[in-house]
Subunit: 283 residues, 4 copies
């Protein structure tokens, strides 16, 4: 699927600020960059680097003036998002995971899988495969956590969301990751552009490692699962923030856009997948 | 300095368990392995790997029997631990840190620097250099947190320790790292063998990144700063645990030993450093 | 001082709801009710009671229909709010407090004085009298906690506010009470109407027990200290909520009004008191 | 049932301490004091009072010397503990509870029923009566929370226990009260002497208000339900501590004893009650 994505962020600057932006789409085996541009206005020299052990493309620069800053990114991207088939059986285990997968089994800032382990076993302990666990986690969250703008804060963690039962996409992803890790299923956070997300904004979902591959999951059901364009990947929102700031600028505008420009685009929703599974189960 | 270190861990096994041990001393520019051996008794095939983006040497194996397991490690190591000189000025900033340093500026599971940022600025905001901040953080923790065996749990985080004012070496390190990161000073967790730690056990301290190097700090003042032998390094105890378990064995014995075998060993304590600084300040 | 106060609350009802309203001004030795009326529209039989050990006037009724409900209260009240003089010395101690004061020394839902005890001693341990402690607590909170609408939630407690450094009047009062209790100074929560509070709303402040009397304090400095009309008193917001609900109605309108109608009203602000103290100190 | 109870507490004193002891058994319609004595050694003048709105008998005194203190209490008590029959139907609701019951519907320091409301509805929302709710809460806690000495701290609250799944009698009672209140079932904390509790110590359980009476429940199943002698009652451990201290003495001995001295004593256990219910259900 081909997507056109863009974002525009405007800031008012008072003091020097170091910005670490992660706005670029990444290139992976499932995602191809057709074209892209990043404009920093006024022009400020910047560097781009990738944090070791990850794939996020970080753009870093420091402003030393007072006034306005505009950062604009646009790209055309072709994706082939990996959606787990329903009959995905797997005997993955901590014994076989590659070294690069191990960190995604462990608790992180917003995903305290050590604190929700008992709860996870109680709810998902009867399930036999990583796919079944991740699917059940998504269903439970979708049915029990109310999606509500403004219901959480930057410091909100999975434990808070589990108790409070409210959140936004970030909180849905954190809680899902936490339950998966608590069940020894590797899970990681994904920040993305999302096709026709309403209202348009950055989106967060998560991936689960099954049989050697990372498959996308999204407990919010807000966008088609094949409508995601990957920006950043990490243990949780800490590693995958679109902007990490050192300084105190004021964000005055944030505008995000993502649309599939493929005429053949047929959205695949979680409901489709569930129906398909049920159809298979009936055969 | 030359050290002889060893540890012996015994478990009773009931069900299959996957063990990820990090007991090996690492080899770095400051630490040379002279000899080492790891014995798993009874013999179980194991693999060793290093988690990408880090340096910890992980030994992984799975047990499928009921009964006893003994894991013994011993090594001779030569170290040259990097202790920060007191006149260490630095204009490091988020603008100049290398990509591999960035993760150690961000909050992690047990080091919620986002939640203690205001508190850190209130206490340490007047200090001008990373070295001054790290030193003041160590002093504050040493003076205000009571070192008390059994006063914390596995889930205890820096926020808990800050409020409760009790902890062990792990908690001291977590809180120190948290304050440093909140002040934009990169800090990471170090698990180590420690010369004549009383009672003998694994030890935890932390490192601070100044002017391109990672310097050791230890808020507990329990061991000489040149008496540490590095085992594992990470964002916090999550990444640097000596044993991560998948299963439910019973630990029946844990015995750790570390001694400097260099006849010329002159312990350097935090108090020495403080006196030296004061002497310099008086000149 | 004479005040005219009123409030109007409108709800849309879907299912049966039991309401416990505490909107009535109380009568105390410092506050005289000149006139009042409470209208429940449509008419629903209600009962009024006072919770034992307290003074709050609770109005309870249950609705069994779907549709609209309007509750209106208005009153004229004469007050003589007890403001602590700056030279208030006292040798109060847990040995002498009356039995009815003891509960206000203990932690409560939103005032976890047991968790902030060490912090309180560190900040206020050098102060000798309850008045000095309460004054210093108010100053610290005013200077360090940002008053920001929407920055806290219903479940926000004093520990959260202390770490996060943001809140509204409820959070200011909870944190102040917590620090006082941690210092063994009895403190309680007060819900009130407040003269020309901008925007008009219910207000929260707190009282401190010194030398046998409860004196009003307010860390927000939003309204004159002699501009408060007491509605409810309790351990924290739990006991002193204007409305406790059993059911799920929708609040569609909340309108509160309070104005001093005494032509001689001279507002007394915290700044006045501080200046007065400094003037006395200079003599 | 007749009980002989006693306790002996020894302290080493360094600085002045104000003690608030609640060691006396209370007299209620279900509990009769046959004899009692309290000895403070060395003799120190003390006063006894009852906190308004409660029934706890508080003994207060202040020590001004350094050295040893021994407090001994013994009593003979006759009880007729109110155990809820299994067929207890009730249409109690917030509309009908007496004013003195209302506080026990609200959250308190260690019983954050506001934070566990959603969780409680998920687990117990299908149950129709207070008795069914309280019974199910006890069963869930007994089956899911591990009773483990030393697994909790003084600051541990119901939310902690729910997540951590470990605790002692205090934590069991706090979590049970929290779930009940979250379901709008009034519940309160009870500190008691307990027949042949092993090891002998003070015990904590809770009461639930059904049809105008407070019935005893105990999720620990450690002692017979008719083997409890009531010391203190309150919202949670805050109000019902056997000793509240102002000062820093060292507790050097704590010895508690409780035994039924009635030759006809037939212990009634939770299992008995469950069997009885099942027998009734089979009829």
């Amino acid at each position: 699927m081909k997507f056109r994505v863009s974002c525009e962020l405007e800031y008012t600057l008072y003091d020097p600020v170091t910005f670490l932006f992660v706005l670029h789409c990444v290139e992976t085996s499932d995602q191809l960059l057709l074209s892209e541009s990043l404009v920093i206005d006024p022009y400020i020299p910047s560097e781009e680097f990738i944090v070791p052990g990850g794939m996020n493309r970080v753009t870093r620069f420091t402003t030393y003036y007072s006034g306005h800053l505009r950062v604009s990114y646009q790209a055309e991207v072709s994706t082939n998002t990996l959606i787990a088939p329903s009959n995905l059986l797997s005997n993955d285990s901590p014994q076989t995971f590659g070294a690069d997968v191990i960190p995604f089994l462990l608790p992180s800032r917003y995903c305290q899988s050590d604190r929700l382990r008992e709860q996870a076993y109680e709810m998902f302990g009867h399930l036999m495969t990583p796919h079944a666990i991740a699917s059940a986690v998504c269903s439970w969250i979708y049915e029990n956590i109310a999606y509500e703008m403004g219901s959480s804060m930057e410091t909100t963690s999975a434990v808070d969301t589990f108790l409070h039962r409210h959140g936004v996409c970030r909180d849905f992803a954190h809680l899902a990751i936490t339950f998966c890790r608590a069940m020894n299923v590797p899970a990681r956070y994904v920040t993305c552009y999302a096709h026709k997300l309403d209202p348009q904004d950055f989106h967060a979902c998560f991936e689960v490692f099954i049989d050697g591959l990372w498959y996308i999951f999204d407990a919010t059901r807000l966008v088609p699962m094949n409508g995601l364009v990957r920006i950043a990947t990490g243990r949780d929102a800490t590693d995958a923030a679109v902007c990490t700031l050192f300084g105190t600028p004021e964000l005055t505008l944030s505008s995000v856009f993502c649309e599939c420009i493929d005429p053949d685009f047929v959205p695949i929703t979680r409901e489709d997948l569930i129906q398909r599974n049920e159809a298979i189960a009936l055969l």
